[in-house]
Subunit: 339 residues, 2 copies
C-alpha cells in the first residue's frame, strides 16, 4: 500500500505533515510518497526520520509549485500544472500510489482529483463526506461543501457513496437518514421532499428523516444533505464548540476555586476533548472520484495527518469504490437518472 501525501499543503507547513507521515509508517504497513519541494522536504525528512527503517518507507517526489489556501481552485489547477496536489494525484493515475492525502486547499484538491482521475462511473457529482462525533459511533455526513445546489439524484448518490464509505468502521448495513426539519416524510424543502421517495425505494437501509438535533445522538450512521447545508452544519458545529470552550474558560478563570476544580477535572476534559477532536477522526474523504483521496483540515496536526493516512489505507483496503459501483448497480439507475 502506497499513500501520496501533499507535503506542501496545510497551515503548519511540511514539518507537521511529515511528522504525521512518520507516525503513520511506524504504525501501519504502508509507504508514503511526500510530494513537494525536494530540497526542503529532504532536509525535514532527514531530521524527522533518521532511522533507516522509517526512511526506507518514505520517498520524495518533486513538484515545483504550491497552490495556496486562498487561490481559486479551478483556476489554480489550470495554471499550476506542477503543483504538489496535481503531482500527487498523477501518482495514483500512473499506478505509483493508491491514494492521496492533502491538508491544502480543499476545493483545489477536489478539482485536481476530478481532473486527473475523473469521476467514478455512474456518479453524477463527486462530493466530500465528513465525520461528526456522537454519543455512540461517529456519523458520516455528506455532502459538506462540494455541491451547493443539488438535485434528488445527487442526494441519492451521496447516500450510496457515504453508506459504502461508512463500512470502513465495520458498520453493517448502515442506517441512512435524510437531514430535514421535521420527522415526518412530508417535511422539508422541495429538494428533500423529492429525495425522500428515491431513498425510500432504494436498496439502502433508509430510516427516514432526521433532524439537526439527531446528528449527535448516534442513532444513524449516515446523514445526507446538500453541500450548502452540510458545510454550514460543519462550520456551525466547529464554531459552537470553540465558542462554548472560550465562554467556559472565561467563567472558570473568574474564581480560584473554579480554577482548582478545573485542574482536578482536567483528565475528564481531556478525554472529552479527544472524543470531539477532529484530529482523532482523520480527514474528509472525496467520494465519487475514480480513485481515493482525503482532504484534511488546514490546521491539521501530525496526529490528524497520521489518522488521515490510515483512513486512506482503510478505504483502499475495503475497496470503497468497488462497493459503490456494486451498490449503484443494485438500484434501478435509469429511473433515478431522470431525477
Amino acid at each position: 500500500m502506497h499513500i501520496a501525501l501533499d507535503a506542501m499543503g496545510g497551515d503548519h507547513g511540511p514539518e507537521e505533515l511529515i511528522a504525521g507521515a512518520v507516525l503513520a509508517v511506524r504504525q501501519a504497513d504502508l509507504n508514503v510518497s511526500l510530494v513537494g519541494d525536494e530540497v526542503r522536504l529532504r532536509s525535514i525528512l532527514e531530521k524527522a526520520a533518521p532511522d533507516h527503517q522509517t526512511a526506507s518507507r518514505m520517498r520524495i517526489v518533486h513538484s515545483s509549485q504550491v497552490i495556496e489556501m486562498n487561490e481559486h481552485p479551478v483556476e489554480a489547477i489550470r495554471k499550476k500544472k506542477d503543483s504538489s496536489i496535481l503531482v500527487a494525484f498523477d501518482l495514483v493515475r500512473k499506478g505509483d500510489a493508491d491514494a492521496v492525502v492533502s491538508a491544502g486547499n480543499s476545493g483545489a484538491t477536489m478539482a485536481a482529483a476530478v481532473r486527473v482521475l475523473g469521476r467514478l462511473e455512474g456518479i453524477s457529482r463527486p462530493g466530500i463526506a465528513s465525520f461528526f462525533p456522537t454519543l455512540k459511533k461517529p456519523v458520516v455526513l455528506m455532502d459538506v461543501g462540494a455541491n451547493v445546489d443539488c438535485r434528488p439524484l445527487h442526494l441519492y448518490q451521496f447516500a450510496v457513496m457515504a453508506s459504502c464509505f461508512s463500512r470502513i468502521f465495520d458498520t453493517e448495513n448502515p442506517r441512512v437518514g435524510l437531514l430535514t426539519i421535521g420527522e415526518e416524510g412530508g417535511k422539508g424543502n422541495q429538494l428533500v421532499k423529492e429525495t425522500y421517495p428515491l431513498l425510500k425505494s432504494s436498496a439502502l437501509n433508509f430510516i427516514g428523516n432526521v433532524e439537526g438535533r439527531d446528528v449527535f445522538q448516534g442513532n444513524v450512521d449516515v446523514i445526507i444533505c446538500d453541500g450548502f447545508v452540510g458545510n454550514i452544519c460543519l462550520k456551525i458545529s466547529e464554531g459552537l464548540a470553540d465558542a462554548a470552550m472560550q465562554m467556559l474558560r472565561k467563567e472558570i478563570l473568574k474564581s480560584w476555586m473554579a480554577k482548582i476544580g478545573y485542574l482536578l477535572a482536567r483528565p475528564a476534559f481531556k478525554a472529552f476533548k479527544k472524543r470531539v477532536d477532529y484530529s482523532e477522526y482523520g480527514g474528509a474523504p472525496l467520494l465519487g472520484i475514480n480513485g481515493t483521496g482525503i482532504v484534511c483540515h488546514g490546521k491539521s496536526n501530525a496526529q490528524a495527518i497520521k489518522n488521515a493516512i490510515l483512513e486512506a489505507r482503510k478505504m483502499v483496503k475495503y475497496q470503497v469504490n468497488a462497493e459503490i459501483l456494486k451498490s449503484l448497480a443494485a438500484d434501478d439507475n435509469d429511473r433515478l437518472m431522470e431525477s
Copy 2:
C-alpha cells in the same frame, strides 16, 4: 401594556406558564390575559398569585379547545375555532391585548397569527427569528423554520425585519450578515448569490457573507438564511450542546477527583449554562405579522415564559412593526418585488 398568554400550550402545562406570567407582572409594568380553560386556570392562578396586587393584573379569558403539539398547524387552526391560540390572537385583533406569547405548537401559532391579524403591509412572507448566544451580544438569526423554500426578496425582507427587531437590544445600526459557505461575495448557493446584491444595494447595514463558524463570535447582529437552513442551525446547535454536556458528564463521573473538581468549578458551569441557556433569551418573535407574537420552546420553564413576556412588551414599546414599515419604505421596493 397587555400581553395575552396562551396558557394551554407547552410541555409543562398551565402551572409553569402561569408561574412565568406571575414573575412577569411582578417585575414589570404590564397586565397578562391567561387564555384557556377557565375553571382549570382559575384554580392554578389562585394558588400562584394569592395576593391582590398580582391577581389584579391578571385576567382569565376562556377558550374551550387546545391545539396539541403534533397537530397539523393549518388544519388544526381551521377545525379548532375556539382554541386558546386563536382566542389569544383575537384579543390583539380586538385591541384587548398588545401581543401574544405561546409555548404551544409553533406552526399553529404562526398560522393563527397570519389568519387573525394578517401580514404586515408589504411583507411577502412572515417568518420566525431566534437568538443565538455568542461571545458578545446575542445574534438574531432569521428565518428559523417558517419558510423552507425562499426567493431573494424573502431573504431581503427577513433582513429588514430582523434588523428592526434587533434594535430592542439597543443595537444601533445592526450589522447584517448573509449566512453562506465562503466569505467572498460570489460564494454560496443560487439563492445566496442572488440575495447578495439585493442586500448590498439596500439601506441596511449589510456587512457581507458570514460563515457558520462566525455565528457564535458576536461580530454580527443579524444573520439571514432560509428557514430550512435556519431551523437546521438551531436544532444542530441545541443537539450539539446537549450531546457535549452528556459526554462531559460521562467523563467526569468516571473519577472521584474529576467529580470533586466539577463541584468546585460548579458556579462557573452554572454561569456558563446561564449564558447559553435558551430560557434567558425569551422566545422567538414572529416577524411580519400585523401585530406582535412570540413563540417559546415547548419545554419552556417559568423563567423562559417571563422573559418572553418581557420581550413581547419591549417589541411593542419599541414599535418594531412601525420600524419595519419605515425601513421597507427606505428601499426601492418595486425593484425588489421582482426578485
